[in-house]
């Protein structure tokens, strides 16, 4: 009997150990350790790697910010934009108008000038038409508009401007009328009234006249304003 008991006990233990062996074999054969162990290694290493990475990133970001400050946008990366003007969504406040955005159309038909006007006097605006100085103020009756263009292109013929001529400036919703007061060549314009339009260009169409200090200034005073919708 004792021998029988011993036999059954040894058999059960043998079975148990076989099972254990099988499960441990399964464990060892699986790919789980190949995932879990490296993952644990990486997670532990992140305690050191993460602060180093964050420090490096912080340094890199501050360097980029420094470079961004020194290398701001220039006109080689700007092009004219007519979307807001065409969609009648342009707000005539200096802070809300982007560089080279179309703000209106200047018509001085008696000397053959009809040109688009873009915000900012820069090479992009002047390439496409007339530039409106960012120092201009839009205040209906008291608007002070300062415009400039190339004497060989958009403002060709400005030298023929005469006192009493009418210049119109069309915005998205209004038409402003100005009456020419003077057409002079000088170093600085002579402006008396606050609600005026000053159009400037080079004195002549001769080569390198842009380097001359003398400029042509046509000063026109505000005459009237009407809504565009009434047209």
């Amino acid at each position: 009997m004792k021998g029988m008991k011993k036999d059954t006990a040894s058999k059960s233990e043998h079975k148990h150990s076989k099972k254990h062996r099988k499960s441990s074999k399964k464990k060892e054969r699986g790919i789980l350790p190949y995932i879990s162990n490296p993952l644990i290694y990486v997670l532990i290493s992140l305690i050191v790697v993460l602060p180093v990475f964050m420090g490096f990133t912080k340094g890199a970001v501050s360097f980029v910010h420094k470079v961004q400050k020194d290398y701001s946008i220039d006109f080689n990366d700007v092009s004219i934009n007519t979307d807001k003007f065409d969609n009648n969504t342009l707000v005539y406040e200096n802070d809300r108008i982007g560089a080279c955005e179309k703000v209106g159309v200047l018509k001085y038909e008696s000397v053959g000038i009809i040109s688009d006007v873009y915000y900012g006097i820069n090479r992009v605006s002047l390439r496409e038409g007339i530039g409106l100085s960012s120092k201009s103020t839009f205040d209906s009756f008291k608007s002070k508009l300062s415009l400039a263009g190339y004497s060989t292109r958009a403002l060709k013929g400005l030298s023929n401007a005469k006192a009493g001529d009418i210049i119109t400036f069309e915005t998205t919703d209004k038409i402003y009328q100005y009456e020419v007061e003077s057409n002079t060549v000088s170093a600085n314009p002579e402006v008396q009234s606050s609600s005026v339009m000053v159009i400037s260009c080079d004195d002549s169409s001769k080569a390198f006249s842009a380097y001359s200090k003398q400029k042509r200034y046509v000063v026109a005073s505000f005459k009237s304003m009407r809504d565009k919708k009434g047209e």
């Binding site: 150990s17 062996r21 350790p33 290694y41 060989t152 006249s209 842009a210």
Partner: protein
């Protein structure tokens, strides 16, 4: 061996004596001979450890064994269980050490790999200089200068040919290369004086081209600008070009490259030596060859995973941070450089993963042979 097999058949905790013995032999001989491992066939380490545990946790079984064994005495069974316990402790210690050295191998391997990629891509003077001298950048710079010159022609009321005939892609490329090579001290052929000479040469050719175009077209020149007009025009173009070519932070970048390059070189050598040392140590503390290979495999996979984690980190930073520097073609060039660096990390991670897969295949082969 026969005795052991008989013992295996007779005892309830049948594996204990045989595994004990084979373990004992393997522990003592695995440094000297690989053959011992193979001779202890049919018993993997897991079997052993499990049997060890079962025997150590069930003293009754060992007492039973001692009773059933005719030749053994109480004293010898106590001695064998003590020996068995010591072996279990050694095994456990070995496993711990193997894990520790595998982790350290992972760290040094990762550091070596990361430093190598940083040295090859990020702080590589040639690659940094390539930001400024690659074909796309030079073509974009040429277009930029040409646009400016054309605008200046419009402003000065002269034909655009003045600029287009004198300014060519080759000239702009040469000027950019001269500046970059000189600033990064890459080529003795180029220096700061070469760059200045090339700028002066371009200036002269613009002046002569402008004068000849004005003459050919019979343009009337502003009386005050008859002598200075063309040179002022040329000076404006060349100063614009200089503004575009010269990068303020070249010296800072150069010094960072020099310092980091030296540090990374030292780091690569140091961590490579440490990697070899930890590799040997990882292999040393084992009773089975495949376990050593598997531990090395974990380290390689870990290094690969860490690479991908770093790439992911850079990706997350790139998503949340705007990277815009003007001019946009410069920003594009820098982005390409950063992209190349990230790709280098991805490739490195992938290579490590491949190495890991190869090692794991070897590991499986060894394990199968043993089984």
């Amino acid at each position: 061996m026969e005795d052991k097999n008989t013992d295996f058949k007779l005892t309830p905790s049948n594996e204990t004596p045989s595994t004990e013995h084979s373990h004992h032999s393997s522990e003592h001989t695995h440094h000297s001979s690989e053959h011992t491992h193979h001779s202890s066939s049919g018993s993997s380490s897991s079997h052993r450890s499990s049997s060890h545990n079962s025997s150590s946790h069930h003293p009754s079984s060992s007492s039973h064994k001692s009773k059933s064994h005719h030749s053994s005495t109480h004293g010898s069974s106590r001695g064998s269980s003590r020996r068995h316990r010591t072996e279990v402790q050694i095994l456990k210690r070995n496993k711990k050490l193997r894990t520790v050295f595998s982790f350290l191998l992972f760290l040094t391997l990762s550091a070596t790999a990361i430093f190598s990629v940083l040295k090859i891509t990020v702080v590589n003077t040639n690659r940094v200089a390539d930001i400024f001298i690659n074909n796309d950048y030079i073509n974009a710079l040429y277009e930029d200068v040409l646009d400016y010159s054309k605008d200046l022609c419009r402003k000065c009321a002269i034909p655009e040919e003045c600029a287009t005939s004198a300014i060519t892609v080759k000239k702009i490329g040469d000027i950019q290369k001269a500046y970059t090579y000189g600033a990064f001290e890459m080529d003795e052929m180029y220096s700061e004086s070469t760059y200045v000479d090339l700028i002066k040469s371009l200036n002269r050719s613009i002046v002569s081209s402008t004068r000849s175009t004005v003459k050919e077209n019979g343009l009337e020149v502003e009386s005050t600008q008859k002598t200075a007009g063309a040179s002022t025009f040329a000076n404006e173009i060349t100063s614009y070009l200089q503004d575009r070519v010269e990068f303020k932070y070249v010296e800072d970048i150069q010094s960072v490259i020099n310092i980091c390059s030296t540090l990374f070189e030292i780091g690569i050598v140091l961590f490579a030596i440490l990697s070899v040392a930890f590799l040997l140590l990882t292999i040393s503390f084992t009773d089975k060859k495949y376990k050593a290979i598997r531990a090395v495999c974990f380290s390689v996979y870990g290094a690969s995973l860490l690479d991908f984690v770093l790439v992911l980190g850079v990706g997350i930073v790139a998503i949340f941070k705007d990277f815009i520097i003007y001019p946009l073609y410069f920003c594009q060039s820098v982005s390409t450089y950063i992209g190349n660096c990230i790709w280098a990390f991805v490739i490195e991670g992938f290579l490590l993963f491949l190495i890991g897969t190869m090692i794991s295949a070897i590991c499986w082969k060894y394990k199968r042979n043993i089984e």
